[in-house]
Amino acid sequence: MSVQTQIPAGAAMTRSASAGGPPIKMVARDVKVYYGAKQALKGINLEIQENRVMALIGPSGCGKSTFLRCLNRMNDTIENCRVEGLIALDGEDVYGKNIDAVQLRARVGMVFQKPNPFPKSIYDNIAYGPRIHGMATHRDEVDEIVTKSLERAGLWNEVKDRLREPGTGLSGGQQQRLCIARAIAVSPEVILMDEPCSALDPIATAHIEELIDELRENYTIVIVTHNMQQAARVSQKTAFFHLGDMVECDDTEEIFTNPRDERTQGYITGRYG
């Protein structure tokens, strides 16, 4: 696949702007999303750096999940949803002709708020993606991918003896790690996480947070969270969303210690949200 098509003018600008740091993996330029007549996002500009964790925070209904779902075009499945503006992956417009939604979702994986393993065996949950993408044809190849993915997701030791048991029989935290393993099994470049810990207890949450930190080495991660401590712990960059606007985006430390906008300050100090 030819990656280097024309980078739109806006995207090129950001690249030069952040020269010196890690390369930019994804770019959003003036992204507007409408659900029917209702506008959910009012022109988002954001750069997502490679091998970094970007946290999206903000009060409920501010559009952070909507934005996340634009990055792998999951919004395509929602009736009446219209996306304007530019979103680029490696300089290529994800809504353009060169990228197909199915192909994009293989490159940009997603982990959802509620753990949603397939009602199949643990093995089949992981093996499904590689199988449909033709990544592995022989049994041993599939076995290897399954093992590696589960190891990376830190679940291998817990489930290695019961790979044939249903994935739905695991605990909530294990299910969510299974979903992460499923996402990384297809070797995506970016992993989107939509409040991955909101349904989990603190111990399971700690597990996942550790995992996110490890995954950063190989993947670019964008995580939506309501938990500010979590954002502070796992991310390097944080973007604060408010009422469909991206208010500010900076290094996580900067956002939490020295926010420029008073709305950000209000939110992180717990005055509203």
Partner: protein, 421 residues
Amino acid sequence: MSVAASKSRYQSEEFAARLRRRYAAEQRFKLAGMLAVTLASIMLVVLLGSIVSKGYTAFLQTKMRLEVTIDPALAQERNYMAMLRQALYAQVPEITDRASRRSLNELLSSGAPYELEAMVSKNPSLIGTKQTVWVRADDEVDQFAKGAISRDVPESERRLNDIKIKAIDTLTAQGAISTGFNTTLFTAGDSREPEQAGIWGAIVGSFLTLVVTMLLSVPIGVAAAVYLEEFAPKNRWTDLIEVNINNLAAVPSIIFGLLGLAVFLGFFGLPRSAPVVGGLVMALMTLPVIIIASRVALKSVPPSIREAALGIGASPLQTVTHHVLPLALPGILTGTIIGMSRALGETAPLLMIGMVAFIVDIPGGFTDSATVLPVQIFMWADSPERAFTERTSAAIMVLLGFLILMNGLAVFLRKKFERRW
């Protein structure tokens, strides 16, 4: 009211009375529910009881033992009735005059010679010998033996005259009358003579019709449901289609029959009374049921499964065929079986396309003339012979048996594959 009083509001006398009223209301509701269930159960018991008590005798058939000499000359003429009659005359020697012997002749089923003929043609060496054979008795003898015709009624009002009763008594004394399991009922096609009539033809007709119905309505219905539920945009057109499908599900079945008559028989010129046409009509009738049931089943698959599949790059069709459809399958299957059992019990549309004809032969294919079980019941219920009354009930029992089997299977499948998320 003071603050202290309001604090103890849940301990006051007034509140206790209120609580009692609430419990009383609950009790009344429970009672009403139990009453309804009891009433329904009683009605069911009465219905089944009346059918079974009327019909169980149809599973038995009275036979006569005759010492038949297989006369070569008569065998040459294939006049087996004459052989049977001679045997009967010999066994009831006290009746000699012509008029009385005519009554005697009527004790034999008109199908009895065929039984004998079949026996002889299978084994020609029997010609010229004397054989003991059991042949079916006429339905009136059968009814008399089962006690449905009483000898206390005056002769003028009785179906069997005194001569016949006397002959039966003689035969009974010889041990030549006996009642056994009625295999004819399950192996024969329809007949004007009750003792020769069976439901096998109707069962085969029903089976062939249902095969056509299933082959047409299941794939089309499921595909339509999948398209409408998973792929079609939600707009005015799909709303219109949905309203029409729901409407079709409620259209009286006879109208589908009229449609079948006009289109399949009138326009396409398909054969009348054929299971293929019956199946087509039933498929039209069952389609909306299957589509609605399948859509409900698809809808009940949580969206998170679709998101999970799409999220790792499955195409929309892969998402449906690999994940959504397998999860919806138990529901679809249940809906299909219920639709099929409805089709099995359907009569009205088949009357319109000629499946109500009197058909003796067992249908051998989809284009042969045939009838179906419920229509057979309908036709037998119309017959004046007493023996058909019990056969009607017996056929109803068989039909109910099939329906219970199918609906039981539906419940079993639902219970077995039911998933919780």
